[in-house]
């Protein structure tokens, strides 16, 4: 072995490698990218679904009550529905509203999963 490590051209020649190219590598990376994108979208959907659920659970009955029964103040209604949710004292109209609320939540889930399936986001 010629020891000429201070010669740039010789060292360049010694350290160079053959060109590497294969489709399998690119395909694997593209698969990883697709998987990563799905995974990050999924986290977004879970967050969105959680936000929707909490918002719906807290606000929908109150809003429905506000628009249908013409309640005097939103503040009173919020405390009423929260109190009812915690203590389980529900009248029939309130149960109905909760049912509508649940339907809205369900529809939201359906919408979110459709978005994922059809890759709309």
């Amino acid at each position: 072995m010629k020891n000429d490590f201070l010669d740039d051209d010789w060292l360049k020649d010694e350290l160079s490698d053959d060109y590497i190219d294969d489709d399998d590598f690119s395909d694997s990376v593209v698969k990883k990218i697709t998987f990563h994108e799905r995974k990050s979208k999924r986290n977004f959907y879970f967050l969105l679904a959680a936000l929707l659920t909490i918002t719906s659970f807290l606000l929908i009955p109150d809003l429905i009550m506000l628009f249908t029964e013409g309640a005097s103040s939103l503040e009173g209604l919020v405390s009423f529905s929260l109190f009812d949710s915690v203590n389980g004292h529900k009248n029939s109209s309130f149960m109905q509203m909760e049912f509508i609320g649940l339907c809205v939540i369900l529809l939201s889930f359906v919408m979110i999963w459709s978005c994922e399936d059809f890759d709309l986001i």
């Binding site: 072995m1 020891n3 201070l6 010694e14 350290l15 190219d21 990563h36």
Partner: protein
């Protein structure tokens, strides 16, 4: 051409454009990682895949300053360093790095080429020689990739090649003594 592809990925998350960028740049990145991991092809290719995945995810942070390949080299080197660190933490011994601060024992009898001797260098010494001689990068690019001061690049290149030379000389004298 390359900048157009980068723009397409940045703007539209274009997988096809990224695939073209990958085809163009995979060879130097994989060669570099194979040499860094001392020819452990499986680990090197795994790191290369992680490098391209990270590049895709963070492509918006690439502002077009410097070559795209240099930016990829920087990610690849960071991937290598963090994987080595993880392994050291797991096993408490360096698996891929056989460097031993220049203590060169009687191990070189079978080593023939400069490439073979590279494994006895520290990872940063190995990286700097590869980036400078094998991939022809400028001192500025190397400083950015290895995150070292520009002034240290020249010194580190010289120190590494001298170390490599001393290993080769010891190898030669070992062989002569054996005969």
């Amino acid at each position: 051409m390359e900048s157009t592809l980068v723009e397409r990925v940045q703007r539209d998350n274009d997988h096809l454009a990224f695939e073209q960028l990958m085809r163009k740049n995979q060879s130097p990145i994989r060669q570099f990682l194979r040499r860094l991991t001392v020819q452990n092809q499986a680990i090197a290719d795994e790191l290369a895949q992680e490098t391209f995945l990270k590049a895709f995810v963070n492509i918006k942070t690439y502002r077009g300053e410097g070559k795209f390949l240099s930016w990829l080299f920087k990610i690849a080197y960071q991937q290598f360093v963090s994987s080595t660190r993880k392994k050291v933490e797991q096993s408490n011994t360096e698996l891929t790095d056989q460097a031993d601060d220049g203590k060169f024992e009687h191990r070189l009898v079978a080593e023939k080429t400069a490439k073979d001797l590279l494994k006895y260098l520290k990872p940063d010494e190995r990286a700097i020689l590869l980036l400078h001689f094998s991939h022809d990068l400028s001192h500025q690019d190397i400083a950015t990739i290895l995150q070292i001061p520009l002034g240290s690049v020249k010194t580190l290149i010289r120190r590494s090649r001298l170390k490599l030379q001393s290993f080769a000389q010891e190898n030669k004298s070992e062989n002569t003594n054996e005969k």
